[in-house]
């Protein structure tokens, strides 16, 4: 791995920027796709996961369960194609939506199903007494969730939410399939143009690993900040 080989990053890509600049732009795309999708995933996932635990609304529970099963049992790449190709064809007004947003929706909803599952498990891991305590002090169901259940459940699910957020970042690599100019797309194109595959892949892999590590550290920081002394939080493992 000679030093010369690494100079590929200083070469012009034919469009007035170096491969290094291109890679940094691509990193930006990866981070913005993952970041936007994360916001959707957490909001929708928290909502759907909470709905699944409601005590007296069987239809809402069923609806939320269907949501989770649908988005969890189809590969992310196939879901991406559905958002990007099938929906705009079935509903022509959707053709106005930029591709970037469609990818964000695909990744966000896919991840929301996984987060919803964690939220449900987190809520159900709480002792039943917590809910009864809320009822005993005269809270409505909404108040019980807002002031008693969700604050505790949120802390319980932080470890699995960490690995799911890292998964989301890694899963954003599928955006290459619909030509979003993110890191994997850059890796494939630059490898082909320069034949310096090893250097390019190494750099891209390092950026992914660094980003995933940063996500991990941010969550560890949050976990430390919000922890309540005396409550031990369960760990979790995730898929990918």
């Amino acid at each position: 791995m000679a030093w010369d080989n690494w100079q590929v990053f200083l070469k012009d890509d034919g469009g007035g920027r170096t491969y290094l600049q291109w890679m940094m732009d691509a990193w930006g795309w990866t981070l913005s796709v993952a970041g936007c999708a994360w916001v959707i995933a957490v909001i929708v996932g928290a909502l759907v996961g909470t709905l699944r635990t409601l005590p007296n609304s069987p239809w809402l529970v069923r609806l939320a369960n269907v949501w989770v099963e649908v988005f969890r049992n189809v590969p992310i790449l196939v879901q991406l194609f559905i958002w990007y190709f099938v929906l705009p064809k079935a509903f022509p007004p959707m053709q106005q939506i930029p591709g970037f947003l469609l990818v964000v929706f695909a990744l966000g909803f896919f991840t929301s199903a996984r987060i919803a599952e964690q939220v449900r498990a987190g809520i159900q891991a709480l002792p039943r007494g917590q809910r009864y305590a809320g009822m005993a002090v005269g809270f409505t169901t909404a108040q019980t969730y807002r002031y008693v259940i969700l604050p505790m459940a949120f802390r319980i699910i932080l470890p699995p939410l960490t690995s799911e957020s890292m998964n989301l970042l890694k899963n954003s690599s599928v955006a290459f399939a619909v030509s979003i100019a993110e890191l994997t797309m850059f890796a494939m194109q630059a490898q082909e143009e320069t034949s310096r595959g090893i250097e390019i892949y190494l750099a891209v892999t390092a950026l992914y690993a660094a980003s995933a590590f940063a996500v991990n550290r941010i969550f560890a920081f949050i976990e430390k900040k919000v922890q309540i002394p005396g409550f031990i939080v369960a760990g979790g493992t995730g898929g990918h």
Binding site: N73, P75, M166, S173, V174
Partner: protein, 222 residues
């Protein structure tokens, strides 16, 4: 949904394009599961051995692979395997090697958790009976650990089946590629994606339903 037309679907399409891809996806899933579990068990035992020269490489391997997207790993192997063995390999063979190597990292985490779920007393009991490390693992710890982690293991296999669609990146002919090819030839790419989604859903939903049933059946009552 007026613009979608599913009437092109017929047996000819399925038998010509889809079945071949489906079998490759299944084959890849099975080989990667078996290979990944075997290799993953070795990695897990290395990490639990307490010997630094075994713990450190295994930890780097597992954490390294778990922090990189599968698509990148697939691309890496497609680039590296021909350089290493000196001749070009097909996308399918490259995919099989990649999936064993990659999934081993995830399976090893499942195995590690499973082995750690066995109370220490079981290990001590084995030692008290004079068993060697190998006997203790084979006869006492692993059978119980395997039973505890079977549901998680099978769930990971379902995820693995979904992940096989990512071989799209190197053009290997899997289930998704089968539908994409058929869609191109019949001029109905969008409908083909939709059908692919339906097939993946049926397979994965059906399998996870079976896992749930199994989980209820084999749970150890304590």
């Amino acid at each position: 949904m007026g613009n979608l037309d599913l009437t092109f679907l017929n047996w000819d399409l399925i038998s010509k394009f889809v079945i071949k891809g489906f079998w490759f996806s299944v084959e890849l899933t099975i080989i990667a599961t078996i290979g990944g579990v075997l290799f993953g068990t070795v990695l897990a035992l290395m990490r639990l051995s307490g010997k630094k020269f075994l713990v450190i490489p295994a930890t780097i391997y597992v954490n390294g692979l778990r922090s990189v997207p599968l698509v990148m790993v697939i691309l890496w192997f497609f680039l590296l395997v021909p350089l290493l063995i000196g001749r070009p390999v097909g996308a399918e063979l490259s995919a099989i090697i990649t999936f064993i190597v990659f999934e081993a990292a995830y399976f090893s985490e499942i195995m590690r958790a499973g082995i750690q779920s066995i109370p220490r007393g079981q290990v001590y009991a084995g030692q008290a009976m004079g068993m060697t490390y190998g006997q203790n693992m084979r006869l006492v710890v692993l059978p119980q650990a395997f039973r505890n982690m079977l549901p998680v293991l099978l769930t990971q296999t379902i995820i693995l089946f979904q992940d096989t669609s990512l071989v799209y990146a190197i053009g290997a002919y899997d289930l998704l590629k089968g539908f994409v090819t058929a869609g191109k030839i019949y001029g109905r790419p969008e409908e083909a994606y939709l059908l692919a989604a339906v097939v993946y859903f049926i397979v994965c939903f059906g399998l996870s339903y079976l896992v749930k049933k199994l989980q209820a059946k084999i749970a150890i009552i304590r």
